[in-house]
């Protein structure tokens, strides 16, 4: 954009310039000129206007016209295309940029990968429900926890159980087999969900939030094994954590316990909330999920 300032015409008095609206002086300006668009689609618009100080300013705007698609338009619509501007759009500043194309690519975000069904999600949601109580069968599949049917390697549900599975010993590539299979139909899959992409930490965090119980008012010398011992009678515990002060190395007085089954966690809360432990009264409650 080129801006040249020229001295205002001498027959004008400064006083008048101050009083009158700039619009009233528009007749003094040379008319708007439009060049092009040429074969490269370059269009130049030369406009003249008065700036705030009353100087005449030449504004050249160069734009490239791109033809998008050959849309079918009605005759009326084509006619409307050439309507002259009105209202505030007449005196619109060239640089006002009321209309902008987003710099950000927006996608229609799918709630789940295309091709997957909601029922399957449900199956994968409680792979542990079929586990029942510990003991009994020798052959227990580590993927779907079915007893006596197959070994882990032969598990027919391994694809389904993959996202919420708690075992971490399998290779990361197997993790993505379910999503990549459903996403081959040409639709966009965000990079984070593509095959070969690494799982983000959100999965991990969510795992920590499931059936998580917060224990507060612990005595200073309570350690994780103590807490595990305390909570084990209520059901299988998947994770125990006690917050330790970095500097002093002592307990900060609170911790988290995750249960594999929600009902167990509920029973533990009912029983242990208000329970006297090491001369202190425990406070046991559901851990509130983090806000983000």
């Amino acid at each position: 954009m080129a801006v040249d300032a020229a001295a205002p015409p001498s027959k004008l008095r400064w006083g008048e310039l101050e009083e009158d609206d700039a619009e009233d002086l528009d007749f003094l300006l040379p008319p708007k000129q439009v060049f092009g668009p040429d074969e490269n689609g370059i269009k130049r618009v030369v406009e003249y206007k008065f700036n705030d100080e009353g100087n005449k300013v030449k504004i050249t705007t160069t734009t490239r016209i791109r033809k998008l698609a050959s849309a079918r338009l009605s005759k009326r619509a084509v006619e409307r295309r050439s309507w002259s501007k009105f209202g505030d759009a007449v005196n619109e500043d060239v640089g006002s940029r009321l209309t902008m194309v987003s710099t950000e690519e927006i996608i229609l975000e799918r709630p789940r990968a295309p091709g997957t069904k909601q029922e399957e999600v449900k199956v994968a949601g409680d792979p542990l429900a079929s586990m029942g109580k510990a003991g009994a069968a020798i052959m227990v599949c580590r993927k779907c926890f079915k007893k006596g049917e197959h070994w882990t390697a032969m598990c027919p549900y391994k694809d389904l159980a993959a996202p919420t599975e708690t075992s971490i010993d399998k290779p990361p590539s197997a993790d993505n087999s379910a999503t990549s299979a459903g996403a081959t139909k040409g639709s966009y899959v965000p990079p984070s969900m593509r095959a070969g992409a690494e799982r983000t930490g959100t999965d991990m965090r969510r795992r920590h939030e499931e059936n998580s119980v917060r224990v507060t008012n612990l005595s200073e010398d309570t350690r994780e094994p103590d807490l595990h011992e305390l909570f084990r009678p209520f059901g299988s515990v998947s994770r125990v954590y006690v917050a330790i002060d970095q500097k002093t190395g002592t307990s900060r007085g609170f911790g988290f316990v995750n249960f594999t089954i929600r009902e167990d966690a509920e029973r533990a809360i009912n029983k242990l909330n208000g329970y006297g432990y090491d001369n202190l009264i425990l406070r046991v409650e559901w851990a509130a999920p983090r806000a983000n």
Binding site: S74, R81, F86, D88, A89, T99, E104, I106
Partner: protein, 326 residues
């Protein structure tokens, strides 16, 4: 897709409307000037200056020559679409909320808010072909609903008027006699104020959005509930694709609470649902305030959303949108 952002309004958007050919997009906002844009590239064509209050809704005649707007300055105005000149002003004693032209553009329905002891009302006005013959007399005035009537539209063949508002009841009125024909059931109906109401292209069914975080699809003739779309945010705006069986809901947390939480918690996406299966297809992000207005281009290939943030976002769909499978 790369949406086109249109920043012509200084205040929150309230309503969006495409003309029948889908080449013009009319936007209303709480600033006082409705604006018309070219719907293909988002260029501003003009503004309609003259209102002295927030403009709540608008409608354009089938031949795209007349625009009607309803405003909080207690008036509804008729405009010449091409020049932006005012043709007529209907004056009321309370703010005008919803406006809608009847089929044939000979009648218009205008709702007014409860104000200073006055109850809300639905006014039916005759629209003269020649603006110089236009009068402000009402053909009929319908009264009864408690609270604001947020939307009133014409039913099939102009025989009925469908209204919905703050009392969460959908009513169908006889437009000739002004009698109340049907009311939505307590069990089926919305539990909180109805914020928006959109008819399908053929007029056989319509969609209502409500602050009870759901949208419902109704049969126009019998007022039976067909489908319910449940979401996790108050619904401020609804629209239906004229091309595919898709329903779009817009909303978000209450505008006054926006600054108190993270923007991701506000849920300001436009949510797409499958009309028949009632399942969510996806969401289109972008606004940083609740969505107040949604409109689908009559060709079904683009839609626009207007937000509390003052932006209109015009989305032209990518080709893969048209063969999305659930």
């Amino acid at each position: 897709m790369r949406p086109i952002l249109m920043k012509g309004h200084e205040r929150p958007l309230t309503f969006l409307k495409y003309n029948r050919d889908g080449d013009l997009l009319f936007s209303c906002a709480k600033d006082h000037t409705p604006t018309v844009w070219f719907a293909d590239n988002g260029e501003r064509l003009g503004t309609y200056r003259g209102h002295n209050g927030a403009v709540w809704s608008c409608d354009v005649s089938r031949d795209s020559t007349r625009l009607i707007t309803g405003s909080a300055d207690q008036s509804a105005k008729l405009w010449d679409v091409q020049t932006g000149s005012q043709l007529f002003t209907f004056n009321f004693d309370s703010p005008a909320r919803s406006v809608d032209f009847a089929v044939g553009d000979k009648l218009a329905v205008i709702t007014t808010d409860p104000f200073m002891g006055l109850t809300s009302a639905i006014h039916i006005k005759r629209i003269a072909r020649d603006p110089s013959d236009q009068t402000g007399e009402s053909v009929a005035i319908l009264k009864g609903p408690q609270g604001r009537i947020n939307r009133a539209v014409w039913g099939s063949l102009n025989k009925t008027i469908i209204s919905g508002g703050e009392d969460a009841v959908i009513r169908i009125w006889d437009s000739e006699t002004g009698k109340l024909l049907k009311e939505s059931d307590k069990e089926d109906g919305h539990k909180k104020p109805i914020t928006s109401l959109t008819k399908s292209t053929d007029g056989s069914h319509f969609l209502t959005g409500s602050l009870d975080k759901s949208a419902k699809l109704w049969d126009t003739r019998t007022l039976t509930l067909i489908k319910t779309y449940v979401t996790e945010r108050p619904v401020n705006a609804v629209t239906m694709s004229p091309l595919l069986d898709h329903v779009v809901l817009g909303g978000g947390q209450d505008a006054s609470a926006v600054t108190t939480t993270d923007h991701r918690a506000g849920k300001f996406e436009a949510k797409f649902y499958d009309k028949i299966l009632q399942e969510e297809i996806g969401g289109v992000k972008g606004h940083f305030g609740p969505i107040n207005a949604l409109a689908f281009n009559p060709d079904g290939k683009s839609f626009s959303s207007g937000g509390e943030d003052g932006y209109v976002r015009l989305h032209h769909f990518d080709p893969d949108y048209f063969n999305i499978k659930l």
